[in-house]
Amino acid sequence: MTTASAPPATHAIEVRDLHKSFGDLEVLSGIDFTVGHGEVVCVIGPSGSGKSTLLRCVNRLEEPTSGQIFIEGEDITHPDADVDALRSRIGMVFQSFNLFPHLSVLRNLTLAQKRVKKRPKPEAIEVAKRNLDRVGLSDKIDAFPAHLSGGQQQRVAIARALSMDPDMMLFDEPTSALDPELVGEVLEVMRKLVDEGMTMMVVTHEMGFAREVADRVVFMDGGVVVEEGPPEQILADPQHERTRRFLQMVL
């Protein structure tokens, strides 16, 4: 982590007074939230607390109802914001992997590189191979998603996001759909990214992972940030009753 005396000029992600409603249901009720450059922030909370919606607002897969979101200082809620260009700089990993089932692993990794980044094919393939190697699946380059285990699919999904050379990564409960014995291999890949200094926002139920790698843990409930702080404080000595109750249930 950077020292307090040299704060980055802007945050990687900055959310100001974010509200989001689905019809009459307000899911986010005024969120203020930041992720610094190179910081790893884990967002925890009960289901329905709005944590996934917050994450999905950050690359505008959900349209905020009101409030502002800045990515590296750029207001992405502005009507003129180029959302496609923005998304190509933010890697996203989904709970349900969402690999393209009709394409091989290699083409899953090269499609957006070629179509969005306009990389020539040889370069795209080279980048894809490098990232498959990072997640330890070089031998699956020609396989189709249906032939991979859940853990392997999620690692390919991470490699696909990395192939766009993102400035930051969003993880939306990346291990929640996995059989317990497959969780470890995905967390291991994520741990590697942390070590490489990737900026990460992780919505997760893996408290052990949060304690181990997060710079900061944010606890959400009922559409608001209840409390946040270093993992050892939030997970071991929470100040709020709601946080305590939640942690008692999951730990």
Binding site: D84, G91, L111, A112, A157
Partner: protein, 259 residues
């Protein structure tokens, strides 16, 4: 009588009825006459090779033209149906309702005679054929394709967008290819319907070189005053359609397994 005995009696009676009907029919029927009228080998032999080289060939050509046109227009209509722009959605909806609700023959008349009368156009007959059949099948295919596109999980679009692809790029590269895999069986059914609907095209006044199967059969029926040509033509239709419906079954089973 026990229940079991009664069941056996009923079963025996049903067999007896069947045998009786077959016997009566085979005794009463005028077999030489039936053979002469419907299975006249001499007339059937005369039909080859023209029934294949001209009639069947034209049937397949018209089917191909109408299917290609209908598929393109159907895809366009399906995308309009899913558009966020209201007028596109409404247009596609109205189009689909109209052309699914009208008899195909009316559309063929409208295109083949309505357009020339109204605008004085004299297009090649292939154009009338393509439009007359294609406009209708596009309406059916649009609904099929729309269902296919909607059958692709939402996460696919989200994953593609999260990689920076535009909506149309994501549609083209990710959603539509998967949607088509879902709709191949129903589209093949659509193709079979279209093959049969080419038999309506005789109303456009197809000639000796442009006639399709049914027109060919009907002309010979009149010339020879014998229904054998209709049977031959029917067998040719079946030779085309039965393998296709079988194929649909195979594809559907394979799709189910892929899930």
């Amino acid at each position: 009588m026990t229940k079991r005995q009664r069941q056996r009696l009923v079963r025996g009676a049903l067999y007896a009825v069947f045998v009786l009907v077959v016997l009566v029919v085979s005794l009463v029927a005028d077999w030489p006459r039936i053979q002469h009228s419907f299975f006249n080998l001499e007339i059937a032999a005369e039909m080859f090779p023209r029934v294949v080289t001209v009639a069947a060939r034209n049937t397949l050509l018209y089917t191909f033209l109408a299917f290609t046109f209908g598929l393109g227009l159907g895809l366009l209509l399906a995308l309009m149906r899913l558009s966020t722009i209201g007028p596109y959605r409404w247009f596609a909806r109205i189009y689909i309702e109209i052309f699914r609700g009208l008899p195909a023959l009316l559309t063929i008349f409208l295109v083949g005679f309505g357009l020339p009368i109204a605008f004085g156009v004299r297009w090649n007959i292939l154009v009338y054929i393509t439009l007359g059949l294609g406009l209708v099948s596009a309406a059916y295919m649009a609904e099929t394709i729309r269902a296919g596109i909607e059958g692709v999980p939402k996460g696919q679009m989200e994953a593609a967008r999260s990689l920076g692809m535009s909506y149309s790029r994501a549609m083209m590269s990710v959603v539509i290819p998967q949607g088509f895999r879902i709709v191949i069986p129903p589209l093949t059914n659509e193709l079979v319907l279209l093959i049969k609907d080419t038999s309506l095209l005789f109303v456009l006044g197809t000639t000796a070189t442009t006639m399709e199967l049914l027109k060919y059969g009907r002309d010979l029926l009149n010339q020879r005053f014998n229904p054998t040509p209709l049977i031959v033509v029917g067998l040719v239709y079946l030779a085309i359609t039965v393998p296709m419906t079988q194929l649909v079954g195979v594809l559907e089973r394979r799709n189910q397994r892929a899930r």
